[in-house]
């Protein structure tokens, strides 16, 4: 990603030079500079709009389901033909069912994938939050404390990385879900299944962030303001969270944005393997899993969720890249 990085750096340099000419004394914070750079990058802006669109859709879906506009659960067997495929041309598209109905049970495709976006995003978002929180906390502690604490956290990271997490997910899924429902009294069904996936994604995904943050902290802790804080007798916790953390928000934001697409596709892959939230509750993953076998017989049913997953994953990735380019200190200098 060197070329977009250089581009955006150049583009960013020009207007700010221009601005200085006109106002003479305009000063800009690093955040403002980064934002200006980000806005200049069309790719990033488009992906930001798409991401916002998805988020709005995800928030709207439960409301639309409550009010009856979307109905992801009611079957419409009368709309299916003898082969249990949607009857009529264009995969059964109609005003009532703009994207047709699914083969087999005849549930509304638009409702299922729309509602599926909500569940997928909730799973990915919660997983990312856990991963980033754990990763940042351990990264700061390891980087700042050093010594045996650092080595222990480092070994734990190695261990987690070496762990076959897909296997664990597959083998321990029934056990894990049962643990959640029986010991923690999480209601059975989509909630406990979703929670299990979130926990596993989060608790196995934090290692990258931890390493990244540790590296950043290693260099930050040698800086003067940290020495100053230490001399003033600031507590460790104050240094970690009040001095170091505010200087780390750029990499944190970037990793978070890059976790999202990874977890969205991870949810889809897990749904294919039979872990994750089970039907009839739709997620993009389990909808696509069902649709895969119909790729030939009912193309739209396959294409719609596949396209939505691809679009959100690409958008989040581009957004993450754009953010990194805009926030990267090297581009600033």
């Amino acid at each position: 990603m060197t070329s977009p990085l250089q581009e955006s750096a150049l583009e960013a340099a020009e207007p700010s030079a221009g601005a200085t000419e006109i106002t003479g004394i305009a000063s800009k914070s690093p955040g403002q500079l980064a934002f200006a750079r980000f806005r200049k990058d069309k790719k990033s802006m488009v992906s930001l709009y798409i991401v916002i669109f998805y988020l709005l859709a995800a928030i709207a879906a439960p409301i639309l389901v409550k009010t009856g506009v979307l109905d992801p659960l009611t079957t419409n067997l009368h709309l299916l033909d003898a082969n249990s495929l949607p009857s009529g041309d264009w995969w059964g598209m109609s005003w009532d069912h703009p994207l047709g109905v699914e083969p087999g049970a005849g549930r509304d495709v638009l409702s299922r994938i729309w509602y599926g976006i909500t569940f997928s995003l909730v799973v990915a978002l919660s997983g990312s939050l856990i991963a980033v929180t754990v990763g940042v906390a351990l990264g700061i502690i390891a980087g700042y404390t050093g010594g045996w604490v650092d080595s222990i956290i480092g070994r734990v990271i190695d261990l987690v990385l070496a762990f076959p997490q897909t296997l664990l997910l597959l083998a321990a899924a029934p056990l894990g879900v049962a643990l959640l429902t029986e010991n923690l009294h999480v209601p059975e069904g989509p909630l406990s299944q979703g929670m299990f996936v979130v926990l596993v994604l989060g608790l196995f995904g934090w290692t990258g962030t931890a390493r990244l943050i540790r590296g950043q902290v290693l260099s930050l802790r040698e800086r003067e303001f940290i020495d100053a804080a230490r001399l003033f007798g600031a507590s460790r916790r104050r240094i970690w969270f009040k001095e170091l953390l505010p200087n780390l928000w750029a990499p944190v934001l970037v990793t978070f944005t890059l976790y999202m697409p990874a977890f969205i596709s991870a949810e889809a892959a897990l749904a294919y393997l039979g872990v994750s939230v089970r039907p009839p509750t739709p997620t993009l993953g389990n909808v696509l899993n069902d649709a895969l076998q119909y790729a030939g017989a009912d193309f739209l049913w396959f294409f719609a969720p596949a396209f939505l997953i691809a679009l959100i994953v690409v958008s989040f990735n581009l957004l993450g890249d754009g953010l990194r380019d805009a926030l990267d200190p090297k581009a600033e200098r």
Partner: protein, 583 residues
């Protein structure tokens, strides 16, 4: 019945059977073609048949085989028995055993409690040695070593042979051998079985299952023999060992003498070679068969066409497809521990949308509505009034029943089923019908351990999904195995029920059990069937089960296959007896 495409067969595995089907009408529903042309034009000898398997066989030891498809396959190729079912589309013929290794279909005395068979001369194992009466005796003795030889269907033989309970523990430990030697005796070439009660349909069981198949003692390595094969049929396995992960190649057995067999009834053995190729799922197999290229033209499979392929089966491809009714029924079992009010169970049955469920599974190619747990092809079948007239479900009627029962609505129930993409949708349709009637349904899809879990007495489920097919053409292998609590319940030392066996609903009725006892000792088959029909009506009125469908088998084969037939003898799987290939 969880993952439909795989588990459907596993379900066959748990039940393995041979039985009458509606194959009389060719089982063919018009659209698909030339079922059974093998009767008119005998297939040519030679060529290689390709058999595409979609799941691995559990074992190739005859005393450990219970999958319907495997019994059907091996009876025609590797393992002969005293008597066997002939291939024929007329179920009356296909359900009547003919002599195979024995000279006749057996003689019974003492009211059916003693059976004798005389062996033919010149019958040989693939190593050239004679098949002796002792080999048969040894084979039968292996039914008692079910701690080592797990998985087979020897429990019928074990239960019937006149040996005190626990009086024999199989040939490996040899404990109680003298008891076994009294129950099964050899007199020259004649083997005699003595049972503790009349077993009038014993020859049917011999032909259907492999518990009484001969086994050569010197070849027996116990559990290590799980995948070795000493053939006595027209084929043998290259290398004597079945590769469970890959399949095997069957070549001609030089020691097999067709003059000791009835090739026109049992084994035409047309192909020179049969190649088994193993997949883990159905889709790639069906794709290959649709493409019909190269060697695949001579391919056949026991993988049913999945619904997503139905729209592709048209034109010339439809000529290679066959739709038959199978000997399997699907049904629901209400949990009698929880749904104690018969009106609630009736309401559940009334609100069950059979047609809707079938529609999600693929319409008439998936199955037809059933009105009894007994398959329509079985003697003793009769439509149960309780279940007729509401194929689409009758939520209003069901609601009225629930109100009559005076329960609080919505009435919460948990529906447990084996998870699969299609089952998920079918469950959604069933749940929708029930909810219209005033139930509140929680769906509880389970993974691989499905049957273990629904056999537990304290499960949360109110209703579970199951499937069954008879082990031989008699309802005696349907009703007692599924609803006789004495045969199913396992108890611990304190007398608490620890396992329900296959009586998933914990159903217990003295009236039913006495009817079954009367049927077991009935003087003739007709009386037996009348009693079983009565017992079935009792079950239906108690709503011990709710029938869902008689499952259809929808087969596809390569264009080079000749003599394709699915019949009662092969449990509606492709019958390898008359099959041939074009070279």
């Amino acid at each position: 019945m969880a993952k439909m495409r795989k588990r459907m067969v596993a379900l066959g595995g748990a039940t393995a059977m041979l039985m009458a089907t509606l194959a009389a009408c060719g089982g063919d529903s018009g659209s698909s073609g030339n079922n059974g042309d093998g009767n008119d034009t005998p297939s040519a000898k030679g060529g290689t048949l390709l058999y595409l398997q979609h799941f691995p066989f559990e074992s190739t030891d005859p005393q450990r085989i219970y999958y319907g498809v495997e019994l059907a396959n091996f009876r025609r190729t590797l393992y002969r028995s005293l008597v066997a079912f002939p291939f024929n589309e007329d179920p009356d013929i296909a359900n009547t055993p003919v002599p195979d290794l024995a000279t006749d279909t057996g003689t019974s005395s003492e009211g059916g409690a003693v059976w004798s068979f005389t062996l033919k001369d010149g019958i040989k194992w693939e190593d050239g040695s004679d098949i002796t009466c002792e080999d048969f005796k040894y084979g039968a003795s292996r039914a008692f070593a079910d701690d080592i030889l797990t998985g087979g269907a020897g429990f019928y033989l074990k239960g019937y042979l006149d040996i005190p309970e626990g009086g024999y523990s199989g040939p490996y430990s040899g404990k109680g051998q003298e008891n076994f030697d009294k129950a099964v005796t050899c007199d020259g070439n004649t083997i005699t079985y003595r049972f503790n009660k009349p077993w009038p349909d014993f020859p049917l069981s011999v032909a259907s299952l492999m518990a009484t198949d001969p086994y050569k003692e010197s070849f027996d390595k116990g559990d290590k023999s799980k995948f070795t094969v000493l053939s006595n049929g027209p084929y043998k396995i290259e290398g004597n060992k079945w590769n469970v992960n890959k399949g095997a190649t069957l070549v001609r057995n030089e020691e097999y003498d067709p003059s000791t067999d009835s090739p026109d009834l049992l084994r035409q053995a047309n192909p020179d070679q049969i190649d088994y190729e193993l997949y883990t799922e159905s889709e790639p197999i069906i794709e290959r068969l649709i493409a019909d290229g190269g060697d695949d033209r001579n391919a056949v499979t026991a993988a049913r066409i999945p619904p997503s392929f139905f729209s592709q089966i048209e034109g010339p491809i439809a000529d290679r497809a066959t739709l038959v009714e199978s000997p399997y029924n699907s049904y629901l079992v209400p949990n009698h521990e929880k749904l104690t009010d018969v009106k609630v169970r009736q309401a559940l049955a009334l609100a069950t949308n059979m047609n809707g469920r079938l529609q999600t599974l693929g319409g008439d190619k998936a199955g037809v509505p059933a009105y009894s747990i007994i398959n329509p092809g079985l003697p003793g079948y009769s439509e149960q009034e309780q279940f007729t007239g509401h194929d689409d479900g009758d939520p209003e009627g069901a609601k009225a029943l629930l109100e009559e029962a005076g329960v609080t609505l919505p009435y919460p129930i948990t529906f447990t089923y084996g998870q699969s993409d299609t089952n998920d949708k079918a469950a959604a349709v069933l749940a929708e019908g029930w909810e219209k009637a005033g139930f509140k349904v929680k769906l509880d899809p389970l993974a691989d351990t499905y049957y273990d879990i629904i056999s537990l007495p304290d499960k949360e489920s109110d209703v579970v999904l199951a499937g069954w097919g008879a082990d031989w053409p008699s309802a005696m292998t349907v009703l007692p195995p599924l609803f006789d609590s004495r045969a199913n319940f396992a108890t611990d030392d304190d007398g608490n029920v620890t396992n329900l066996g296959q009586d998933y609903g914990a159903y217990q009725s003295d009236e039913f059990e006495s009817l079954v006892d009367q049927a077991a000792t009935a003087p003739d088959i007709d009386t037996q069937n009348d009693l079983l029909t009565q017992a079935d009506t009792l079950l239906a009125n108690d709503v011990a089960y709710i029938p869902l469908d008689t499952t259809s088998f929808y087969w596809l084969r390569g264009s080079g296959i000749t003599g394709f037939m699915t019949d009662a003898a092969s449990s509606s799987y492709p019958d390898l007896g008359p099959i041939g290939v074009t070279q």
